[in-house]
C-alpha cells in the first residue's frame, strides 16, 4: 500500500518521476481503495435471503474484488515506472507543466455556481459562471465577455424554458421574466 507521502506536495509535483514520486500513484491507489470501498460499502446491505443466494451484494462483491486486483496491478505498474500517456487534444499543450492554479480557480467558480444557482436563478447564475470561467481562461476584453455571458444566459433560458419546456429556476429575476 502507498503511504502518506502521497499528500506531500513534493510528490505531487508535475513530471512524475520514478516509483513513489509519480502523481499517478494517487489514481492507482484510488482504484485500489475504491475496490475495497465497494466491498465494505455494500457489506451492510441486508441480503434478502432468496433461496438462490444471489442478493444485491453478489455483483458489487465481484466488481470490488476485480477492482482490488486491477488496483494492485496498477500500483505495481506505477511503482515499476510505468506511466500512461496524457491524452492529446486540439487545444492541449502536453509539453507545458500542468497549471493547477487555473484548475483550482475553475473548480471554485463551478462549485460556487453549483451551490448558489437555486437562489440566483439560471440566468444570473450561468451568466456569472460563463463570465468567471472566460476571464479565468484568458479572455482579455471583460466587457465583451460579460455581454456574451448575458446573451448566452438569456438565450439558453429562452430556448430551454420557452422553447423546450424544461424547468429552470428564475431566482433573482423570477418576477421579471
Amino acid at each position: 500500500m502507498p503511504d502518506r507521502e502521497l499528500n506531500d506536495p513534493q510528490a505531487r509535483r508535475e513530471g512524475g518521476g520514478p516509483g513513489w514520486r509519480n502523481p499517478e500513484l494517487v489514481l492507482a491507489a484510488a482504484v485500489l481503495g475504491l475496490g475495497a470501498f465497494v466491498i465494505i460499502g455494500t457489506a451492510g446491505v441486508t441480503t434478502a435471503s432468496s433461496a438462490l443466494g444471489l442478493g444485491p451484494r453478489f455483483f458489487p462483491f465481484l466488481v470490488g474484488g476485480a477492482m482490488i486486483a486491477v488496483g494492485v496491478c496498477y500500483v505495481i505498474d506505477v511503482l515499476r515506472g510505468g506511466h500512461g500517456d496524457p491524452e492529446q487534444s486540439e487545444d492541449i499543450d502536453t509539453r507545458t507543466p500542468a497549471d493547477l492554479r487555473t484548475v483550482a480557480i475553475v473548480s471554485a467558480i463551478f462549485l460556487g455556481f453549483a451551490v448558489t444557482v437555486d437562489v440566483l436563478g439560471w440566468i444570473t447564475g450561468s451568466a456569472l459562471l460563463f463570465f468567471g470561467l472566460a476571464v479565468t481562461l484568458g479572455a482579455r476584453r471583460r466587457i465583451r465577455a460579460a455581454a456574451i455571458a448575458i446573451a448566452l444566459a438569456v438565450g439558453t433560458h429562452l430556448l430551454f424554458v420557452e422553447g423546450l419546456g424544461v424547468t429552470l429556476p428564475g431566482g433573482l429575476l423570477a418576477g421579471v421574466i
Partner: protein, 494 residues
C-alpha cells in the same frame, strides 16, 4: 426482400416535413458542435442529449441520427484545418489531411472527406439495414448466460483495445462499473453505495456521467495546459475535387468502408483500428505520384480513413440495435438515450417498435445526404467556427454541461456530482486512462448484473450454467483472449 420493404416504410416516416426538420436541426447542431475543437463525437452526443428531452421518441431518434453522423463530419473538418493532434479516431485523418491543407489543397481534402463519408455512410447504413434483422433473429435465442458473456466480451475488448496499457483500460472500466452500481438495486430494492444521499437513490444519470467525464473533464484538463498561442487555422473556400482527385479517391473510399464496417460492429472495435488500418493499407498500395505524396499530403490518406471512420460509425449501430450492446462511448450514450424513452435495444426492439427502428435507419440515409449538401458549400463557415476564442469556447462548454445536468431534476446535488466526475475525467486524461471503458461499464454494468443473476437463478446457483451454451463459451474465450493477447505480445517483444 422483407427488410427493404420495411426500410421503405421507414422512409415514409423519415420524410415527413416535421421529421426532415428534426433531421436538419440534428445534422446542423451535430456538425457545429463536432467542429468545435476539443469536442469529439461522444461529447457532442452527450452535450446535445438534453436538447431532445421533450421531443417525441421517433423525432428524437431522427435528430440523434443526425447529431451522430454530424459529429463525425465535424470532427474531420477540425482535424484537416487545425494543425494540432485531436482525438484518436480523427487523428489519422489529420496526418495527411492537414498536410494537404498546408499545401493549399484544403478544399480537396475536405471534399474527399465529405464525399467519402457520404459514400461509406450510405453503403454501411445499407449493410446495417440488411444485417441487423438477421442478427436480431439469431440473438432472439440468446439466454441470460449468453448476454452476460457478451457483456464481459464488450468490457474486456474495449478495455484492452483502447489503451496501450490493459491495466489502465481495466481501471477505467472498474470506475464505470462502480458508478453504475450506485443507487437502488433493481431486483431487491436495496440501496447500494448511496452514502446516505437521497439524490443518489435513483443512481447517477448517464447524462451527468457522460457530460462530467467528457465535457467538464476536458475543460479542467484544458485549463491545466491551454495553448496560449492563437489557433492556426488553414483558410479554405468551397470544398471541391477535380477529375484526378476523384480517380484517386474512389478506391480508398470503398476499401475504407470494407474495413470500417466490420470493425465498428465488433466489441471493442470502434473507429480507431480501422482508420489506422486503412491508412496503412493506402500507404502500402500507393504507387507513382501518390507514393511520393504520402507523408506530405496524399489524398488517399484522407479518403480511406475518413470512409473507414464513418463506416465504423454505422457498424457500431449493429450490435447496439440488435443486441443492446454498446461498443464505443458514443454508442453507450445512444443506448442511454433509448433507455430514457423506456426502450431497450435488442432483438425485441425490431418486433415491438419496427416503426421506430426503420424510421431511425431511414433517417441515417437522409441525414447523410443532408450532411453532404450542407458540408461542401459550408466549409468556409465551419472554418470560421474554429476561430472561436478558446476562453469563450471552454466557458461555453461548461455552461452547457451545467445546463444539461441541472435540467434533469433542477438539483444542485447533480452539479456537485457533475464536478466530481469532471475531476475524475481530468485525472483520467492526465494519466492516459481511456474514457470509453468507464462510460460503457457504467451503462452496460447494470445490464450485465441482471443477466448474471438471471442466469444463476436458472442454474439454481450452479456457476457452470455460465458456460453451458456454446455461444457463451465462445464469447468468454474471446474475452480471455482480449486480456491475454496484449500480455503475450509484450512478453514476445522482450
Amino acid at each position: 426482400m422483407d427488410s427493404l420493404g420495411l426500410l421503405l416504410d421507414g422512409f415514409t416516416a423519415a420524410l415527413t416535413p416535421v421529421n426532415l426538420l428534426y433531421a436538419l436541426i440534428g445534422v446542423t447542431l451535430g456538425t457545429f458542435v463536432g467542429v468545435l475543437p476539443g469536442i469529439g463525437p461522444a461529447m457532442t452526443v452527450a452535450l446535445l442529449l438534453p436538447v431532445t428531452f421533450n421531443v417525441p421518441p421517433a423525432s428524437a431518434f431522427i435528430m440523434f441520427a443526425g447529431i451522430y453522423y454530424g459529429g463525425m463530419y465535424g470532427g474531420s473538418t477540425t482535424s484537416i484545418l487545425l494543425n494540432t493532434p485531436g482525438e484518436s479516431a480523427s487523428m489519422i485523418t489529420a496526418l495527411e489531411g492537414n498536410k494537404m491543407a498546408r499545401r493549399g489543397r484544403a478544399a480537396q481534402a475536405l471534399a474527399t472527406a465529405a464525399i467519402g463519408s457520404f459514400i461509406a455512410g450510405t453503403i454501411a447504413t445499407l449493410l446495417l439495414a440488411l444485417a441487423a434483422p438477421v442478427i436480431a433473429e439469431v440473438a432472439i435465442s440468446f439466454g441470460p448466460a449468453d448476454y452476460f458473456a457478451l457483456a464481459v466480451l464488450a468490457f474486456t475488448a474495449v478495455s484492452s483495445v483502447l489503451s496501450r496499457s490493459v491495466v489502465r483500460g481495466l481501471a477505467s472500466l472498474g470506475l464505470g462499473l462502480v458508478i453504475g452500481l450506485i443507487g437502488i438495486d433493481q431486483q431487491t430494492g436495496q440501496a447500494r453505495l448511496t452514502l446516505g444521499i437521497p439524490q443518489l437513490l435513483d443512481g447517477i444519470d448517464v447524462v451527468i456521467v457522460a457530460v462530467g467525464l467528457f465535457a467538464v473533464g476536458e475543460v479542467l484538463y484544458v485549463a491545466s495546459r491551454l495553448r496560449h498561442d492563437s489557433p492556426d487555422v488553414v483558410p479554405v473556400g468551397r470544398a471541391f475535387m477535380d477529375r484526378s482527385d476523384w480517380g484517386r479517391s474512389w478506391r480508398p473510399w470503398l476499401r475504407g468502408t470494407a474495413l470500417g464496417f466490420p470493425f465498428g460492429a465488433l466489441p471493442g472495435g470502434g473507429a480507431e483500428i480501422p482508420t489506422f488500418l486503412s491508412y496503412t493499407l493506402e500507404r502500402r498500395l500507393a504507387r507513382g505520384r501518390a507514393r511520393e505524396e504520402f507523408g506530405k499530403g496524399a489524398i488517399e490518406g484522407v479518403a480511406g480513413p475518413e470512409a473507414a471512420n464513418n463506416a465504423a460509425a454505422a457498424g457500431t449501430l449493429v450490435p447496439l440495435l440488435t443486441l443492446g450492446l454498446p461498443t464505443s462511448a458514443t454508442a453507450a450514450i445512444l443506448l442511454a438515450a433509448f433507455q430514457q424513452y423506456g426502450l431497450q435495444p435488442g432483438p425485441q426492439l425490431f418486433d415491438h417498435n419496427p416503426d421506430l427502428v426503420w424510421g431511425l435507419l431511414a433517417s441515417l440515409f437522409v441525414g447523410n445526404a443532408m450532411l453532404l449538401v450542407l458540408n461542401l458549400p459550408l466549409a468556409p463557415a465551419w472554418a470560421r467556427v474554429l476561430h472561436i476564442p478558446r476562453p469563450y469556447l471552454y466557458a461555453g462548454i461548461v455552461t452547457f454541461a451545467a445546463l444539461g445536468a441541472y435540467a434533469l431534476s433542477a438539483s444542485w446535488v447533480d452539479l456537485i456530482v457533475l464536478y466530481i466526475l469532471g475531476l475524475l475525467g481530468y485525472a483520467m486524461r492526465r494519466f492516459g486512462l481511456p474514457i470509453a471503458p468507464a462510460v460503457i461499464g457504467m451503462i452496460l454494468g447494470p445490464m450485465a448484473e441482471i443477466q448474471l443473476r438471471r442466469a444463476l437463478a436458472i442454474g439454481a446457483g450452479d456457476v457452470t450454467v455460465l458456460v453451458s451454451s456454446p455461444v457463451a463459451i465462445v464469447f468468454l474465450s474471446l474475452s480471455l483472449l482480449a486480456l491475454v493477447l496484449p500480455l503475450v505480445r509484450r512478453l514476445v517483444r522482450r
